[in-house]
Symmetry: C2
Subunit: 231 residues, 2 copies
Amino acid sequence: MIEFKKKFYFYPVKAEWSYMKKAKEPKEKDITTEGKIKEAARTVFHKKGYAATRTRDIAEEAGINLALLNYYFRSKEKLFHIIMTETLSGFMQHMVVVLNDEKTTLEKKVELIAASYIDLLLRAPEVPVFILSEIRNNPAILMEKIPVKQLMFHSVFFKQHQKAVTDGRIKEPSPLHFLMNLIGLIVFPFVASPMLKKIGSIKDKDFNQLMQERKKLIPVWIKAIMKANAK
Amino acid sequence: MIEFKKKFYFYPVKAEWSYMKKAKEPKEKDITTEGKIKEAARTVFHKKGYAATRTRDIAEEAGINLALLNYYFRSKEKLFHIIMTETLSGFMQHMVVVLNDEKTTLEKKVELIAASYIDLLLRAPEVPVFILSEIRNNPAILMEKIPVKQLMFHSVFFKQHQKAVTDGRIKEPSPLHFLMNLIGLIVFPFVASPMLKKIGSIKDKDFNQLMQERKKLIPVWIKAIMKANAK
DNA sequence: TCTGAATTTAATCATTTGATTAAAATATTT
DNA sequence: AAATATTTTAATCAAATGATTAAATTCAGA
């Protein structure tokens, strides 16, 4: 902390530094320099990942001088941390809200999650690979920020699932299989889309069409899976 | 090409340079220096990806001098290319063979693929994220090496799927949905495993257990999906 | 064992890259 | 308008990193 002061005493004092700020919602059409840098960082980090990203890439994408990036965000790492936190929480938020809704049934939750996530992913298709590959390099990122564990096991979803199992409406008792299947069916096409587009020679428009179909199909498939009996 | 000669005229002439060699199967317990470097490169690249990997990391992992790496493989990029090619073809091979078997039914193919891929992934769980994140940075890698497209659309699997659709045994006509579902159900838990292990506080042993269960469950679920009707 | 080829090493280079500095330009306040 | 604070720039630094060189060592065959 002393080092902090020593290192930056020559900088002007500002009420609220970017790297101290709480993450805030990105959709404010921020045209301040700081906002431009953050948007550029989001774009480049999401596309290339932390290690392959050069701070110069971000500066160029933002149309600013490289020094400005360090002026506003102190370091590549701090800037990345902000982007990662926002990306992760943005991605989890939907899920957690839906999973904890008291009013909706399990079946309805599946419909809501499928539709809202597919829409979300169509807008930001690079996000899943970004998250998964960055977590590989630093699994601690997760723990650090999000208390997903209790949100999951104390969720309304979890209780509804247990109930459905005891009622016999779901044959496979593990909620983890259920979640893996649901999220997998939703997310996997997006992480595999570069392969799909090559292998299946799918154009972007066709891919979108397929994903639109899956909004309806996944809930149907999940219901079929629920009833399926392995024995 | 002239530059090539000029740059390396001082190197001893060798019959077959590593970077010229065809990819060969990795399981030969290669204890030559060249083999050690390749094994180390595979380990480090798979774990950290191209951009985050330092050639010094590979050298250290292999227990050799950094210069040796360049002596045997010319450059980081060439070494990476070898690893990527081997990894990709190793990953596709299983699939292509099974999909083109004349003797097995569609249902049997699903069982075979689920079981063999889950076993494969339990041995090399980092491979899917490695492939997917590297393809993101360079989608051309795929095209370059593997003629998957025709292998897919002229496969026995593809014809069997079409037949099953016209026979009414499969409700959703798109073979792409079928493949996305199958591969997604198999692969997704592995790419998401760091999250699962945090969120679900799953130990490695529990994860293995879950994956063993999925060998049996996925074929059952896929059959249920086949019968499920959206209308 | 001798000789040339193959392998390995230590030292070093050149470039890239994240970060910093000090000064210039711009905006804000008095 | 003058003074002060904030933002932006160009120049530069230091460390990291991929690559190269030349010399030393080991190995294979005559």
